[in-house]
Symmetry: C2
Subunit: 491 residues, 2 copies
C-alpha cells in the first residue's frame, strides 16, 4: 500500500513556483464557493508517519486558503473533561459546520493505531475500532460531508534522516521528543498496523490518499490539488454523495407491533402510588449517591404521544435527584446553528459526563417520528437513522452510559379525553394547539412509525420500555422502577 510513496517523488522549484500561485487562487475561490453554498462541511484528516511533514502541511493549507474559514483541530491526549465522556465526543465537538473546512491533526484513527502498536489492544480490537470508524464516517458522508483523508508516508530510511535533521536545527529541535524516537523504533510495526487500518477504512467515498512526505513541494502540491479537485467536483455537482440510497424497506406485512398488543387495564390508587413513589424515589436517590455511580452516567429518553404525561413523569424522576446532577434537554425544532451539523450533533453536545444524568424530553428519535411522518427528511435519511442511532447508543453504553428509553403510550380515547380536559383548564401551559389536533389526525401514520422505531432500535444495550400510560400513577412508578433496575444492574 505504501510502495508508491517510497519512490522519492519530487517536484523541482521552478515547476512548483509556477504552479502555486494559480493553485492558491483556485483554492481561495473554491473555498469562497463552499461558504456561499453552505451545503456541506469538509473534513480533512492529516495523518501519517512522524516527521513526514504533517504540521508543515497544515500550516501551508492555512496559508494558501482563507484561514478564517478553516478550523484546525489538534487532537492530542484527551483532557480530564474529555475522558469523562465517550471517546468520540471530542471529535463531535470539533466538527466544522456546513460551509467550513475542519482540519484534523490526529484523528479517530490515532488512538486505535497507537494502542495496537504499543500492544495495549489486540488486532481484533483494532478491526472492531475500524468498523466503528467506517460507520462514523459513513454517517457524515450520508449527511453530505466531504471527507478527505491524507496519510503522509516516509520510508524508514528517510524518516530517520528527517528526525535527525529536525534535531540538529535549534528551531525545530523541540518537535523531536522521546515519543518520536520510540515511534521510530517501532517503525515496522507501525507501518504494518497502519496499513491494516488504512486498507480497512479506505472506502469508495472516503478513500485514503497516501502521499510521499519526503519532498515538501511534492507533498504540498499533491494535497493542495487533491483538495481543490475534490471540492470543485462536489460543488459543480459532478459528484453527489456517491453512497447508494437504500431501497425503501417494505412495511411489515402483518403490522403486528408491540404497541398494538398493549394492555391498558392497569390500575393504581393514589394510596398505592404514594407508597411506591416514596419507595422508588428513595431507592433512586441512594443509588445515584453511591460511589459506583460516579463511573457511569444515565441518559434518559422520554418519548410518547401528546398528552401522555411525559412532563409529569420527568418531574417524578428529577424529584429523586440532586439538581446539580442532572440536565433536562427539551428538544424542539433544530436551530439555525444545529442545522449546520449532522442531526445527531445537538444530542452529542448534551450527553452527560460520568456521575450525571441527562434527561431528553423528546430526542434523536424525532428523526423516526415527526421528521419521517411530516416528510421533513427523505426516506433515505430516516432509514439510515436506525443504524446511526443504534451506533450512537452503543457508543454511549460502551463508555458507561446507561441508556434508558421510555415510550409513553395512551389510547386514542384517553388522548381525546385529556385534550378535552385541557381545553377547559385554566392553565395556559396546557392549552391545546392546532398542531396537537393535526398530529392526532395522523394517529395511524404515527403508529406505524412508532412500531417500526421500537422494533428496530430496541437493542440489548438500549432497550425501549413501553409504558402503558392511561393510568398516570402506574406509568410513573413503572418508569422509576425501570430506572432503578437499569442503574442497579449497571453498577
Amino acid at each position: 500500500m505504501f510502495e508508491s510513496a517510497e519512490l522519492g517523488q519530487e517536484i523541482n522549484k521552478t515547476d512548483y513556483e509556477k504552479e502555486v500561485p494559480e493553485l492558491r487562487e483556485a483554492l481561495l475561490d473554491v473555498q469562497h464557493d463552499l461558504r456561499e453554498s453552505g451545503k456541506f462541511q469538509v473534513i480533512i484528516l492529516i495523518g501519517g508517519v512522524d516527521g513526514a511533514g504533517k504540521s508543515e502541511t497544515v500550516k501551508i493549507l492555512n496559508e494558501w486558503m482563507d484561514p478564517r474559514f478553516i478550523e484546525t483541530n489538534a487532537m492530542g491526549a484527551a483532557t480530564e473533561e474529555e475522558l469523562a465522556h465517550p471517546p468520540m465526543w471530542r471529535f463531535w465537538r470539533a466538527l466544522p459546520p456546513r460551509g467550513k473546512i475542519g482540519i484534523f491533526f490526529g484523528s479517530w484513527y490515532t488512538e486505535p493505531i497507537v494502542n495496537m502498536v504499543y500492544g495495549t489492544i489486540k488486532s481484533r480490537d483494532l478491526d472492531r475500532a475500524m468498523e466503528g470508524v467506517i460507520r462514523f464516517e459513513r454517517m457524515f458522508l450520508d449527511e453530505g460531508a466531504l471527507i478527505l483523508k491524507f496519510w503522509l508516508h516516509l520510508s524508514k530510511d528517510v524518516q530517520k534522516k528527517r528526525l535527525e535533521k529536525l534535531e540538529q536545527n535549534p528551531e525545530t529541535r523541540w518537535r523531536v521528543t522521546e515519543t518520536e524516537w520510540t515511534h521510530f523504533k517501532l517503525y515496522d510495526k507501525f507501518r504494518k498496523i497502519s496499513e491494516r487500518a488504512l486498507m480497512h477504512t479506505s472506502t469508495p467515498d472516503a478513500p485514503w490518499i497516501i502521499v510521499e512526505g519526503t519532498d515538501p513541494r511534492y507533498r504540498y502540491l499533491t494535497i493542495g490539488k487533491e483538495i481543490l479537485s475534490a471540492l470543485r467536483r462536489r460543488l459543480d455537482g459532478g459528484e453527489q454523495s456517491a453512497v447508494p440510497k437504500p431501497a425503501p424497506a417494505l412495511p411489515p406485512v402483518d403490522e403486528k407491533f408491540q404497541l398494538k398488543s398493549l394492555d391498558f387495564s392497569q390500575n393504581m390508587t393514589k394510596k398505592e402510588y404514594d407508597k411506591e413513589l416514596e419507595k422508588y424515589q428513595r431507592k433512586l436517590n441512594l443509588l445515584v449517591r453511591s460511589r459506583k455511580f460516579r463511573k457511569i452516567s444515565a441518559i434518559l429518553v422520554f418519548e410518547g404521544s401528546d398528552a401522555a404525561g411525559k412532563g409529569g413523569a420527568v418531574r417524578r424522576v428529577t424529584g429523586a435527584l440532586d439538581p446539580r446532577s442532572y440536565r433536562i434537554i427539551p428538544i424542539a425544532a433544530p436551530t439555525e446553528e444545529e442545522k449546520l451539523h449532522p442531526y445527531l450533533w445537538r444530542f452529542w453536545r448534551n450527553i452527560p459526563r460520568n456521575g450525571n444524568f441527562t434527561i431528553f424530553d423528546r430526542s434523536w428519535y424525532g428523526r423516526l417520528l415527526v421528521e419521517r411522518v411530516e416528510g421533513f427528511c427523505s426516506p433515505a435519511d430516516w432509514m439510515r437513522a436506525y443504524g446511526e442511532i443504534n451506533d450512537f447508543e452503543e457508543q454511549l453504553a460502551r463508555s458507561g452510559g446507561v441508556v434508558i428509553k421510555f415510550w409513553l403510550s395512551i389510547t386514542k380515547d384517553e388522548q381525546l379525553k385529556r385534550f378535552r380536559e385541557r381545553e377547559v383548564t385554566g392553565f395556559k401551559r396546557f392549552k391545546i394547539t392546532e398542531e396537537d389536533w393535526r398530529n392526532r389526525k395522523r394517529w395511524n401514520k404515527y403508529e406505524l412509525a412508532i412500531g417500526e422505531m421500537i422494533d428496530r432500535t430496541s437493542t440489548d444495550t438500549a432497550p425501549w420500555t413501553v409504558v402503558e400510560a392511561n393510568n398516570k400513577y402506574y406509568a410513573r412508578i413503572k418508569i422509576l422502577k425501570e430506572i432503578c433496575e437499569r442503574i442497579e444492574a449497571a453498577m
Copy 2:
C-alpha cells in the same frame, strides 16, 4: 442586615399546605409565559450560610416549576479548563438564554467572600471584586435580565444544631464535611464579611433578599412567592428594567479625532517588506514558542473600513503561528441562539485558553460601529457598551490576556480604487456587494462612530493601534511589529 432573619420566622403546616398548590400553579403559569415571551432570562442566585437549606431550596424550586426550562448550575471549585480562562468565563458559559431560568448555586460572590474569610485577599480586594460584580450584573440588567439574589441565613446557634442534625442522619451525613465545620468556626467572620459584600451589592435593580433558613416551609414559600411576584411584575410590564437610560452624549464639538490627523504617505517597497516580514514573523514565532507564553494568551481584534486589507493582514500573522495555537473567529450578524444572550456572550465563548491566540475578524466593536450607525440597537445600548467593553477587556487582561486591537484605516479615495479593482478581478470572493457601496455612502457617519470608539475604548491595558493601511506592506509590518512588542512586554 441579618437581624430580621434571626427572628425564628416560620409557617405552620396547615397554612403551608393550603398555600402551596396555588403557588405551584401560578409558578408554572408564569414560567410558561416567560417561555412564550422569550424576552428575558431569569438569573436566580442561591447563596448563604452552610446548612441553611440551599440545596433543598433548589430542589423544591425544580419540583414546583417545570424543570425542563430551568438550568441548575452548581459552581464548585474551578476545573482545569476553567482555570485556564478568566474567572467570569465559566459563569458566562452557564448563563441561561432568554425565556429560561438559570439557578446558580454558588456564584460570582462565593470566591471573593470565601477568599477573604480565609484571609487570602484583603478587604480592598473584596470591595474591588464587588464593584466588578455590580458592573457585571448591571450589564445583564441592561440587557433585560431579571436577577433575583437570595441569601439564606441562619443564626450561629441554629447553624450548629443544623449541622449536627445533618450529621446524625445517615442519609444526609455525606453533606457535612470538614469544610462545613471549618466554615462554622469562622461563622462570625463569615457573617461580617458577607454582610459587607451584600450591602455593597444590594442595588435597586438587583437587591439581595435575605431569607431566614431555619424553617423550611417559611424558606420555600418566601422564595417561591418572591420569584412569582418578580416574574409576574416584569411580564405584565408593570416593571420594565428600572435602570435609567443614559442621556445621549453630546458629540465632541471639534470632531478632532485621531483618525483625522493620520498621515497616509508611508511607503514600503516589496523588497523592504519581504525582509521585514521575515524578521517579524520569525520573531513572533519564537516569542510564542517560549515557555512564558503558556501562561498568557493573545486576543487580537481586527477592525477597519471595507477593503482595508484585514484578511491579508490576518494571514501574515497566522503565517507565523502554529495552526494548533490559534482560532480565527469571523464575526457576522448574530445567530438565533446568540440573540438569546447578551451581546458579549458570543465573544466570551471564544476567548482563548492560556498559551493560545484568538483572532477576531471584526468583533464586539460591531456594537459601536454597524449596530450604532445602522440603528440595530438603541442609543442607550451602544452608549453603555463603552463601559461594558472596557470592563470585558480589563477582565481578559487581568487574567493574562494580551488584548491587541487594530483599526485599519484607508482614505476614501483608496477605498474607491480598491472597490473598482475588485469589480474587474476574476476572483468571486472579492466581488463588491451592494452593501459595500451602501456603507461607503455613510462614510461620515462611520467616521464619527469610529472616532468616538477609538477615543473611548483605548485604555492602558487595551489600547487601539490605528494602522494607516493605504500601503498594504507598511500596514502588515506595523501590525506584526505591534503584536511582537505587546507580547514581549507581557512576558
